[in-house]
Amino acid sequence: MTRLLFAALAVSLSLTLGSVSVAQDAPEPVYGGSVTVAIVAEPPGWDPTVSTSQEIPRVVYHNVYEGLVRLNRNGDIVPALAESWQVSEDGLTWTFQLRDGVVFHDGSSLDAADVVAKFERATDPDSGHTNPAYYESIETVSAEGSTVTFTLNEPNTSLLYNLARPDSIIYPPELADTQRSQPIGTGPFRFAEYVEGSEVRLERFEDYYLDGVPYLDSVTFRIIGDPNTQFAALRAGDIDLIGVALSPENALQVQNDPNLKLSQGTATTEITLALNNRLEPLSNPLVRQAITHAIDKSVIVDGAMFGFGTVIGSHVSPAEPYFVDLSNTYPYNPERARELLAEAGYPDGFSLRFELPEPYNIERRSGQVIAQQLTEVGIEVDLSIVEWGTWIQRIFLGADYDMTIIGHSEPRDINIYANPDYYYGYDNAEVQALIEAAEQAPSDLAQNEIYARVAEIIAQDAVNVWVFSPPYLVAAANDVYGFWEDQPTPAIDMTEVYRAP
């Protein structure tokens, strides 16, 4: 107990120190220059509305493309192409006032018809638009002057948040077919050149509607898949910023390098040991509680993450507004775990398949420690590694598994516990009713209260074991400032980044 508390304290302490030190010595912004940022994989084109690949928004969202609203670096929803909006009393009519004088990178002006065309496409399930579910509640979209009106078929508190997602970006509808290779948006940078498979260069857009930004003349995103090569390239000065996939061991080395700095922010990822609630013996809540008691999460954070991470107790990361610390619901207690197993009718334990997803290093390492810990309370673990396509198809979509481990990085994703067909197989009418109510909650605050309640229920039910939330780690050259230290949305926003001596 004491050790657990101490570990949690140490993590929160280092979090505070990390962000303060970066913010404190930031000099005045300087205009000009360029910054090179590492990304990890080649995106399949550049249009976030036709592919859900996370590599696409990392480069283009906020930098090249924008939507009506967006998240700022603190995760608050703020105006982007819409300067203001109103919601009617009954929550069924949403009116957005577009900003004046917004131009696309090809010189044409943004008008309300562009916005209408966009959401007509998004709500048409045959259009190939990604995630049509985000827009399901939209009945019609209409334009009048520079006002766009959404009429909903039911109140939907999540709509505004969904409009801040990368799927909701707006580009000239007549250029839809070429966005894949030649993105045209309204953002602070225009898409200048893509060297196939190697790097993409963005250049400052002179006609950006906000004054004073961006600071940089150009930004290059270079594709470097191997984390060790990324780190070597940063040390060699070939790149200036690592914002994706910085490994914990490299983060330690960044801390010791006088030419580099490390920032640790919050991220919305929960490393989740998923239990198949449909199958014996995991369908027994006592067994799931026993498994939670058997796992010493702080050892995993130290062993797999070199201490970078916060122990959690439900499907909520500390970055979410509805976070409550539930990590002591079923604390580490192997004795209690054995008692519960005996009580559930398994005094001699049982054996489980435990499958680790091949591409994810942190999950693989954590899984190995967990397997060891489960063995100590008498659960025999048959550990194997599965390739990603197989993981998606058989485990995630087919729910053919006993245990697996994965980072759930989507923000505000606690609603997955209301879906009995989800791969956890968790079917609880109370949770389903609460999530339904949350969708129609009168305010964000009310919605957050309901989410916090759901977090408590699923923790009590020990649906899964939520192990820890890894921080968002950024490594940068000492002279680079203004980058986002948290990651509320999967974008590497370069709008306010600058270099200063």
Binding site: V195, A236, I392, G398
Partner: protein, 314 residues
């Protein structure tokens, strides 16, 4: 000779066809749906169905394979599911990285392996041979991705001479292209050099123990002419085989090296194609690899006749 060529050509076609069919079956056997990979795990069934229709995934597998094969015969390699661009242009773009990488590595390997292997064979029984052989053993044991990382740490991080990762296209700045290829070529070439050194040494020792070499020495020919004129000439048939096989190994080895050095080559495209179940792209790539390997082995066979006049083709 003509009859031989026709026979070889036909057997090459069968080999390539079998390779493509095998890969097609393999990718059908592993779980994973391209449409789900493109639209993500939250995609609605309706959107998935629409995309599957658009990509032609609703057709039965054998018909997809036959229509792909029919396209290839007409010179049309189809369109990549993931990139939604013609496979042929994707592959050709990547060859400008992978071909110089493999050839450069082959050059490095030959320049090291030939002299070192010959010297090791000639100094058999003295101190130099075990030293060179141990070095070659060590070189063969070191994995190329580790060697690549060490080269990056030395030449990019410590010395700052060469870029750590990335690629500059030839048309932009050829010197920069060569600089970005230098370390990968070295990492790939050194490992192969170690393997080839051992093979060259073995081939030379074999030839040096032949009767005609003893006869040549006995009749008083200078050592240089015995080695250069008699031994090396006869060892060439073996060496050409080894080098031909090595080049195919380099093509495969470049998949890992391209990953370490972040080069946009054919190897990385293969990994992407497998990850996204992009079967037209993968089929096209396998076709290129299989053709390259078949062509190499054909060239090796033909060269035997040039190197050894006793060999005739029937």
């Amino acid at each position: 000779m003509l009859f031989y060529l026709i026979r070889r050509f036909l057997s090459a076609l069968v080999t390539i066809f079998l390779a493509s069919a095998l890969v097609f079956v393999a990718i059908l056997a592993v779980p994973g749906d391209p449409a789900e990979i493109i639209l993500g795990i939250n995609a609605s069934p309706q959107a998935l169905a629409a995309l599957r229709e658009q990509l032609g995934l609703n057709e039965p597998a054998w018909r997809r394979y036959l229509s792909w094969l029919g396209g290839v015969v007409r010179g049309d390699f189809g369109e990549s599911l993931n990139y939604q661009r013609p496979v042929a242009t994707l592959i050709v773009d990547r060859l400008e990285v992978s071909v110089p990488l493999a050839l450069g590595a082959m050059f490095v390997a030959c320049v090291i392996a030939l002299p070192v292997g010959i010297v090791a064979a000639l100094s058999r029984g003295r101190w130099l041979d075990p030293l060179l052989t141990s070095l070659a053993q060590l070189g063969a044991a070191v994995p190329s991705f580790w060697l690549g990382l060490m080269l990056i740490l030395l030449f990019s991080v410590e010395l700052g001479w060469l870029p750590a990762a990335g690629y500059v296209p030839w048309e932009r700045d050829p010197v920069a292209t060569l600089r970005s290829l230098a370390l990968p070529v070295l990492a790939l070439g050194l490992g192969q050099a170690a393997v080839m050194t051992r093979m060259t040494r073995a081939a030379m020792i074999e030839v040096l123990s032949q009767d005609y070499v003893r006869t040549a020495s006995a009749k008083g020919l200078p050592r240089r002419r015995v080695v250069g004129g008699h031994a090396l000439r006869n060892a060439l048939v073996t060496l050409v085989t080894i080098f031909g096989l090595s080049l195919s190994q380099l093509l495969i080895g470049s998949i890992i090296i391209e990953q370490v050095f972040s080069l946009p080559g054919l190897g990385r495209l293969v990994l992407t194609a497998i990850g996204t179940r992009d079967f037209p792209l993968l089929q096209g790539e396998i076709l290129v690899y299989a053709s390259a390997i078949v062509l190499l082995s054909f060239l090796v066979d033909v060269s035997y006749g040039l190197l050894d006049p006793r060999i005739r083709y029937q």
